[in-house]
Symmetry: C2
Subunit: 225 residues, 2 copies
């Protein structure tokens, strides 16, 4: 089974080609590109180039995946639109993957729970919590948005990573966090492809796959300001 995964949820856009061999995902080719202007104008030629490099005809794709957020409002919608169109025109399945899930998968095994943090602007981050080494990652706490220190509410061992952790490192340290702030993978398209492959193999494809992922404020403490 051949699938393509498209990520435009952050400034680093990516397209990955993944082949499932006996259910195991194998990354065949990947492009990452710094997206300065319009996402829409960039994604399709990037996909076409990658298919050409891999010698995969577009018609050989068996499934499509897109990263559904949180992240860039426009980028998420463009990627979801593109794979929806491909899916509609071919009748082949389409899967959505959360940005934070893909970040945890791309990070790989960690020494504690994986806590990816995305910069949400205005001092906030998007966060979630996953098990240390599951692949696909098992969600322990659903995606939330709010003050970076809300990532610390559970005291047990965790590894924080992602641009949200890097940007707010001082705030996290001032709040008493002494654990690791690790470097995140630049690209999450390949990881999204692996998660999508696992969902397809398990038949675990939901009805809201292609809805952008809206994230609610953390239950723990909704900020007032």
């Amino acid at each position: 089974m051949r699938l393509v995964a498209i990520d435009a949820s952050t400034w680093w856009g990516g397209v990955a080609l993944v082949e499932l061999v006996d259910g195991d995902p194998k990354l065949v080719a990947e492009i990452g590109v710094h997206i300065e202007g319009s996402h829409a104008a960039r994604l399709l030629p990037v996909l076409e180039s990658l298919l050409a490099i891999a010698s995969w005809p577009r018609s050989s794709l068996d499934a499509y995946a897109a990263v559904r957020g949180p992240g860039s409002f426009t980028g998420v919608r463009v990627a979801l639109g593109l794979v929806s169109g491909l899916s509609l025109s071919t009748g082949r399945p389409c899967v959505g993957v959360g940005t934070l899930d893909a970040m945890a998968e791309a990070f790989g095994p960690a020494a504690g729970d994986r806590v990816p943090l995305l910069d949400a602007g205005r001092g906030d981050v998007y966060g979630a919590r996953f098990d240390p080494s599951g692949t696909p990652p098992k969600e322990l706490r659903p995606a939330w948005v709010g003050d970076p220190v809300l990532a610390l509410e559970r005291g047990d061992a965790a590894v924080l990573f992602g641009e949200g952790a890097r940007v707010h490192e001082k705030r996290l340290r001032d709040a008493g966090y002494s654990g690791p702030i690790a470097r995140a993978a630049t690209s999450v398209a390949a990881a999204a492809g692996r998660i999508a492959g696992a969902k397809l193999v398990a038949g675990n494809v939901g009805v809201d796959e292609l809805a952008p992922l809206y994230v609610r404020p953390a239950d723990a403490k909704v900020r007032t300001r």
Copy 2:
């Protein structure tokens, strides 16, 4: 300054476009591709595709870099040949970057010395040792080839990573190693581009830049068999 870095030292080939802005490297676009057959036939179209995606005319490139080994005999020579040809035809500089250096740079900051290990076949690995967080990494022990346990000769804290560590994990554990065996980045082309940029900025370009890197057996213990 715009530069391209090409890596064909392992089965995962890569091409990266890096722009130096005030001496700081910025990754603009990157392609990675699983190389099944001939390296030679794949690299040039991959480079051309990436330049098209980034809207960089080939004539806008100011410098070229290739990963010079250790690694795939053919892949290293094809990449070095390609950048040599580009450099000769344009008169612009060309830089070689060691595979293990690029692996350490791609790994990023670590909790101890960085020890990348590449599978060298027949039970051996290529290894080297770098400082924990220098960028570019500072070499503490030059590249060697031999038994994986030779990576353990210095007892102080180190982080082992790369396919050589993964493949020989049991051997390393049996030899008493209890430290981390971390996941390496899939692609090192962008890291090679960053190192090449730093070398060019520092004017630190040697006369043997484009010689494939031959690696001698470790001084510590040359194997007999």
